[in-house]
Amino acid sequence: MLNIQEVKKRFSIFQNQPDLVYLDSTATSLKPKSVVDKIREYYEEYSANVFRGIYPMSEKATMEFEETRTIVSGFINANSSNEIVFTRNATESLNLLAYSLGRKILESGDEIVTTIMEHHSNFVPWQVLTSEVGAVFKIIDIDEEGYLNLGINNIKDQKSNIKNINQKLKVLDQIITKKTKILALTYVSNVLGTINPIKEIVTQVKKINPKIIVIIDAAQAAPHLKIDVKDLGADFIVFSSHKMLGPTGVGVLWGKEKLLKEMYPFMYGGDMISEVYIDKTIYKDPPHKFEAGTPAIGEIIAFKEAIKFLNEVGMEKISEHEKKLTRIAIDRLTSTFGGEIKIYGPRNVDDHNGIVSFSFGKYHSHDISQILADNGICVRAGHHCAMPLHTRLKLPATVRASFYIYNDEKDVEKLVEGLKKVKKILKA
């Protein structure tokens, strides 16, 4: 069990705003004091550039910077820290892949497969790339409950069911072909909260097409679930520091070293170069090949404090806590408002990360979030950068409440009370 009061004490924001009900960690998480202190430490004690100076301050900065890479590598069980590329955010990691990998391997008539539940950052880069190359852009649909439509509701639950496994293979067989060069898929939907069975999907698609490259958007997974890149079997995994207690301006691209070596560089400039001549340039090996220019040094250094925090609490405990809150939220909202509230995403919280998106009566999502805001509750309203999904659900927008390690049952109760006020103010 997590002691939320103890966790909250380690976030200065709760001392500054004791009544804060922050239910928008899916957009960005709050930052513990240890992370903020580490940023200050860099800027106040050794704010030199990395990989340049011979003087002690620069060596200290480089050592702290590279230590984060090692800690990130351990956090996701990568083979080596050479597989960890620092970017600005998960969005940049995905765009890097579309540019440096996609342009290298994609030809006219090839296919890229993604899903209808993607964030725009794992949708638009592939849509644009396929249209430029003359390739085919294919979308996996969802079913009525918000699971990927792979022919069965949940691969994990139905593993022992031979008939359904055959059916699933048949469905994936229709989607993935020998021409599918890339499958780009989210681990957790940022709207539905659906946790996709990544390991099972990777195994199946690689059986159909052993050459397929599988890219996982783990922006909503890395903060909440234990990630083991070796176990998942994907080729690339991306996530953002700022959604997992870390600073903004830092993203991670994990990739298999062999593939990173084969890719084009992303940007050209300082740090990524080994030798430059008038007629040619020789690049550094990954990960530095993809890290042109001075990075967000202080933020990357402080990112490791976020991972240390997560490791100390324990990813399994975090996951368990969020499932519990999701269960309570779904139950409380449904029992209080009945048919007036519609919650999207799987009912089984084992398949549903700590995200509760809903529509409420005929009230507009902006009005709902505005009245909640007036009562000190932070939620998100809109299409959450997932417009294809909202179009699929025939909704202009939803309200989204999301939970993390500093939320508890009281926050759920405040949300319920807030929604009662929404009804009181807006009802005819």
């Binding site: 507009h364 902006h366 009005d367 809109g382 299409h383 202009p396 927008a397 103010i425 005819a428």
Partner: protein
Amino acid sequence: MNIYQDIILDHYHHPHNQGGSVLSGRSVEVSNPLCGDKIKMTISFEKNKVKEIKFQGEGCVISTASSSLLTDYVKNKSKQELKKLDSKFIIKMLGIDLGMNRIKCAVLPLEALHKLLV
């Protein structure tokens, strides 16, 4: 100040000039894809002045109340007068303190009106 004032809510629940369209009038549709708000507005003029105006659409409290108040205001006003209306006017008309995120909701009907004045 709370933006959900009685007068605003009254215009939201009982909007003026809503529904249907103006016969033989010009019409235009505007939307805010971010929140899904859509307004269809139709208008007719007599001697360069607004004779009739109607709006339809789905929207939040702010965009609906703003449409209701604006369509009341414009009647019998000349095109030249109406072209001068800007977001400051809308804020004053609503009489509430809108955050930067809700201004977009409030000025959506003004965007429709301006398109009809061209």
